[in-house]
Every structure is written in C-alpha cells, then in structure tokens.
C-alpha cells in the first residue's frame, strides 16, 4: 500500500502535471521554496537598508557583488540538478581550478583564447563525466567520491603547475575579455552570462524532459527505472552539467582576477558558498524536488551578506556569522513552509 502511494508521486514530479492547476493560490503553493528564499533575501536586504540606507545608492556595492556573484550562480544552478537527483558534488572548485589551468596554460602558449576556453570546458566536462561514472556506474557514494576527486585535482594542478601562478593580464581588454567580463556602461558582462545560465537552467529543469527525469530519479529511483527512465545516464548527465559549468566559471574567474593561482587561501569557502546558495534557495538534501530560481536567490543572498556586512560598518569577521545565521534561518523557514 505504501508502495502505491510512492508511485503516485512519480506523476507529481512531472512539472506539466504540477502546472495543470491554475490560479494564484496554486502559484504560491507550487513555488513555496523559491518564494521562501526570496523572503529571506528581502528580509536580509531590509536589514541592510535600515542599518545604512545610503548603501544601496552606492554603485560600488553592486560592482563588488556583480564581480563575483556570477561565478556562484554559474556553478550553483547546475548543482541543483545533481542534488535533486539525490547525489552531491564537492569537487567543483577543484574542477574550476583544473579547467582554468588548462585555459591559462594554453592562453599563455599563445593559442586563440576562444579555443582555450573550449579546451577548458572540455576538461571540465571530462572531470564531470568521471564523477558521474564513479558515482553512477561504479556506485561509489557521491560525497566521498567527489571529495576524493577534489583532492586529486587539487594535487594534480598544484603539482603540474609547480605552484607557479600564471598571470593573464595580456588578455585584458581583448575581444575575448570583453565578451565575457567586459563592461556595458558600468554593468559587468559576466552578470549577463549569469542570467543566461539562469535561463538555460530554468528551461532545462522546469520545461525539459531532462529536468523532469532528474526530479523523478531523485524522488524514487526504482519507480523511475521501471518507468523506463535511464537513471544512470540521467544522473551522469547532471554531473557532466556541473563539470561544464565549473569549467566556464573557472575561466570567468581567471578573467575577472586576471590570473591563475594554483593555491588559494581558503578553498573551502567557495565550495561552501555554492552549497549554501543551493540550500538557502530551498532545495532540500533529500532529493526529488528543487528550485533553480531559489538557488539564484540563494547565491545573491550569500554575496550580498558578504558585501553588506562590511558596508554597514561591521568588521569582515561578521560575514561568516551572518552566513551561518542565514543558512539556519533559511532552513527553518523552508521546513515550516513545507507542504505536508
């Protein structure tokens, strides 16, 4: 009997089915999670505005945020797919580094930067595939397999590059540079790329077969398999997606900071920031459901905390504290908004 109930939810994971009922109430119902995330974000902003109203009139804020926010977004959105499918990936930061290394080495050698980016993305894709194979074909537990890959890649990059950074200033103001991280007026182009990735991810997740398969697989693996979904392939594709995105984000970061640095000061911080974006956004760890837009809001929340804290006059030390607080508040609010 319980089994039959479980099979019923399979239909629910199909977004078409969900959307077949109309009306505003249903809109609110169906989008609980991203709306919760939005609420947390708005409360956060209100807090900042009250503390220092002038803050938001200062373009410098947005500049700082928009510089690094796109990287968070580009990785967090595909990560939603992996988490909804019931797995986790902790290797993306190292993947970023690895791909950037490929890019930087090739660029320094004088190759066409667009080609270098393609190579980098290829590299990232391969890593993503390897993750997918380890987890889905061999059957390792994703948390540990991707931690292993993270270490592996980090070591590979550091050893291979002999810990020598590669400056990328020569790319500044080239066509390539402007395409990806230039400015339109005062507005950083990378933010446009972030929005593009938001659109792509939203289309894939909510309107494409891939997204609905991901949800089904994360909800009930057995049922999905019985229904003919190729579960292994779907899950591996999710890892591939993260791999490609990490590579892209890696190249972006190389362009933004105009350098490839083999050793970063606090590598775990970026990893946790991306994770936090996804979870603050309302995607639960259990899998089966998720929200792309929520992750987008979550990423904005994390970045604005970092910038806002300093703006309102608190020392940078408060950033971590706020990060933690917001994560817990968001979790609790999602819990109480859960439909059951």
């Amino acid at each position: 009997m319980a089994d039959l109930e479980k099979k019923q939810t399979n239909l629910d994971c199909n977004p078409e089915f969900r959307r077949s009922r109309g009306g505003i109430i249903n809109f609110l119902e169906n989008n609980r999670r991203p709306l919760s995330a939005l609420m947390v974000f708005i409360i956060l902003m209100l807090f900042f505005i009250i503390a220092k109203p002038k803050m938001f009139l200062d373009w410098g804020i947005y500049d700082a945020v928009f510089r690094s926010l796109p990287i968070l977004i580009v990785i967090a959105l595909p990560l939603v797919f992996v988490i909804v499918s019931g797995e986790i990936d902790l290797s993306y930061v190292s993947n970023m580094l690895f791909s950037l290394w490929i890019f930087a080495a090739a660029a320094k050698a004088g190759w066409n930067p667009f080609l270098c980016m393609l190579l980098a993305i290829l590299g990232g894709a391969i890593i993503g595939l390897i993750n997918g194979v380890l987890v889905n074909h061999i059957g390792l537990k994703s948390i540990m397999a991707t931690i292993g890959m993270k270490f592996l890649l980090q070591g590979l990059v550091a050893g291979g590059s002999s810990i020598m950074p590669i400056p990328l200033n020569f790319l500044k103001d080239t066509l390539f540079y402007n395409t990806f991280v230039g400015k339109i007026g005062n507005f950083p182009v990378q933010m446009i790329w972030a929005v593009i990735s938001l659109v792509i991810a939203t289309l894939l997740f909510n309107y494409h077969k891939f997204g609905s398969h991901i949800s089904c697989v994360g909800d009930n693996l057995e049922s999905s398999r019985e229904m003919g979904i190729r579960t292994v392939r779907v899950k591996t594709l999710a890892f591939l997606y993260v791999g490609i995105a990490s590579a892209f984000a890696g190249v972006l970061s190389g362009l933004i900071y105009l350098s490839f640095e083999p050793v970063s000061g606090s590598p775990d911080e970026l990893m946790l920031a991306v994770l936090a974006s996804v979870f603050i956004g309302g995607t639960p760890t259990a899998g089966g459901v998720g929200t792309i837009f929520g992750a987008f809001i979550g990423a904005c929340t994390i970045r604005f905390i970092q910038t806002g804290v300093i703006e309102i006059g608190l020392s940078g030390f408060w950033t971590q504290f706020f990060n933690g607080l917001i994560i817990l508040i968001a979790l609790i609010s999602h819990k109480f908004h859960k439909s059951r």
């Binding site: 931690i147 890959m149 050893g159 050793v263 639960p284």
Partner: protein, 327 residues
C-alpha cells in the same frame, strides 16, 4: 574436526570484521610500498614520532564521527567547535583559573554545541548536512568577532603537571597517544558492546523501525552529536597545548581529511554499519600520506593528489567488498 573448527572461527572473524581488515590491508600494503620506495624516510623512527604528535587528534575525531555517520547524519561543524572549545579554554586560563577548569569548560562548550546540532536535526528536522554547515559558519564567525582576529598565547603552561597530563611522555611514549588510543577503546566499547552503539546502528539502518520498537531516536542521535562535540573539545585542548597558542582559525583545514579517514576506514556513508577500528586505521593511512609525503620531500600539494587517489581506490575496494551485502 579440530582443524575445521579453527578454519571456521577464522572465517567467521574475517566476516565480522571485513571492513576493518580491508583497511588494515590497505595500510599494510601502503607501508610496505613506502618502506621499499623510501627506506630512509619510512624506517626512520623520527618520522613516526612526528606522526604520533598529531595522530591522536585524528583518532579522537574520527572515532566520534563514526557514531554520527552510522546514525545516518553528518557533522561538518566540528572544525568550528574545536575553535570554540579552544577559545574557551584559553579564556579560562587568561582569567587566571585552573587549567583543569579550562578543560571542563571546553568540554561543556563542545557538548553544548553538539546538543544544539542534535536539536536542529532531531527536533527541527533539518538536514544535518546543511545545518552543521550553518553552525560551522555561525560559530567561526562568533570566534572571529570575539577575538577580533587576534590569537592568544599559552606558552607558560610548558612543563607544568597539567601539561604533562596531556602532552608529556611515559617512558618515552607520548601521553597524548594514550589519550587517543584510550578514546578509541572507549568508542569501541560504546559502539560494539553497549546499548548506545546497538541503537545507533538500528537508527541508521531503519529509523522508522527503530522508532516503532521504542528507541528514542531523538535522544540517541543527539547524544552522537554531543559525543562529537566532546571529542572536538578534547582535540582543541590538545591542539592548543601542542602549538602553545590559540588563534581564531584553530581547527580549520581538517574537515575533508577527517571524513576521508572515516570512509577509507570502511564506514560507508549510508548509515547502519560502521567500524571504529577500521576508522582508526583509516586515520593512520591518512596521516601516513600526509607525513610521508612531507618527509619524502614530495611537493606538499602532490599530497593532495595522493589523498584523492587513496580515497577513491579505497572506496572502490570497499565497494567490491560490498557487492554481496547491499540489499
């Protein structure tokens, strides 16, 4: 007849301790390869001396982590708990109070955070993965705010009886290793011979069933987190004494390594099964990689590569072992 009995006993022993033995195999293989490849390093007692300095901390953290993971949860906040407990320890000292009191307060702080983690997970129903990440940030933030980024020195404790209790030597054998092994033994007793361990395993295996059979899931899970908190506090004290200083980043950097040790040791991530001994062996493997690569002069960053390689190979190894047992 007698011969059969012996063989059966041995095979039963192997069955029951499959995971720990696998880990032991990996460790032994590693040591043999390393000793052959680089005898001047790996047959040198001095290197083991250096390993022994920090190995106990790993023993303690990984043993406690097994309980949390077997119960089906994760604790990613322990680094910050180490920081918090260490901070409270030195604050107590700075106030002029007895260092033993400092240890007590540190333990209470660790247990308290563990309690909060437990409440978040069992009463509020939050995912332990994310809520402990949240706590990690929150607590580290508090430490940074409170210390304003400044460290505190405690060199004056050198040579005192208090110091010797934790870091001295008995006939040349470092005491902190005794603490580490003692904690492992305690953990083995709790895990395999006590009701606590039995119930943790049942909860991680089938939480619903455990609840129906009357196991107090919330309390037991919370206790696992508390145990982790206490372990973190002990490590904090050891660490602070060893380095003779507390700085706001105390505890950072070992998150993934501790997890790696647990998984290499053969505790799978899905709960219900675990091995303390295997985990201790996993800690040895991880430590060996770390100290070994440094001693061999290999770039410290290649060490990361080896970590990764060993983790993945160990996982695959356990997986092959598992094939018969996963339902």
């Amino acid at each position: 007849m007698h011969r059969n009995h012996v063989i059966t006993s041995i095979s039963i022993f192997i069955e029951k301790n499959r995971r720990a033995l696998s880990a032991l195999l990996v460790l032994s293989a590693m040591m043999i390869i390393l000793m052959i490849a680089s005898p001047q390093v790996f047959l040198n007692p001095l290197m083991y001396r250096s390993i022994f300095k920090t190995l106990p901390m790993f023993f303690i953290l990984t043993s406690a982590m097994v309980f949390v993971i077997v119960s089906g949860e994760l604790d990613l906040s322990f680094e910050s708990v180490i920081g918090l407990a260490g901070w409270i320890f030195v604050l107590t000292l700075k106030s002029g109070l007895s260092p033993y009191l400092g240890v007590l307060f540190a333990l209470i702080a660790g247990a308290f955070v563990g309690f909060i983690n437990g409440v978040l997970v069992t009463r509020l129903g939050l995912s332990s993965f994310v809520s402990t990440i949240g706590m990690r940030f929150l607590i580290r933030g508090l430490i940074h705010i409170g210390t304003q980024g400044e460290g505190i020195q405690v060199t004056y404790l050198n040579g005192t009886p208090f110091y010797n209790t934790f870091l001295g030597s008995i006939w040349g054998f470092p005491v902190n290793m005794l603490w580490g092994l003692g904690f492992v033994v305690l953990s083995v007793l709790l895990f395999s011979y006590h009701r606590f361990g039995a119930q943790i395993s049942c909860i991680g295996d089938n939480q619903e069933s455990s609840r129906e059979m009357g196991i107090n899931v919330a309390t037991i899970k919370t206790l696992a987190f508390v145990y982790m908190g206490i372990a973190s506090a002990i490590v904090a004290v050891q660490f602070t004494l060893t380095n003779q200083t507390f700085y706001p980043g105390t505890g950072e950097g070992i998150l993934l390594v501790v997890l790696a040790a647990v998984f290499i040791g053969g505790t799978p991530g899905w709960g219900g099964i675990g091995t303390i001994v295997g985990t201790a062996i996993g800690a040895c493997i991880v430590k060996l990689i770390e100290s070994g690569t440094v001693a061999m002069g290999v770039s410290y960053l290649f060490k990361q590569f080896f970590y990764g390689l060993i983790v993945i190979l160990a996982l695959i190894g356990h997986k092959l072992n598992e094939k018969r047992y996963r339902y």
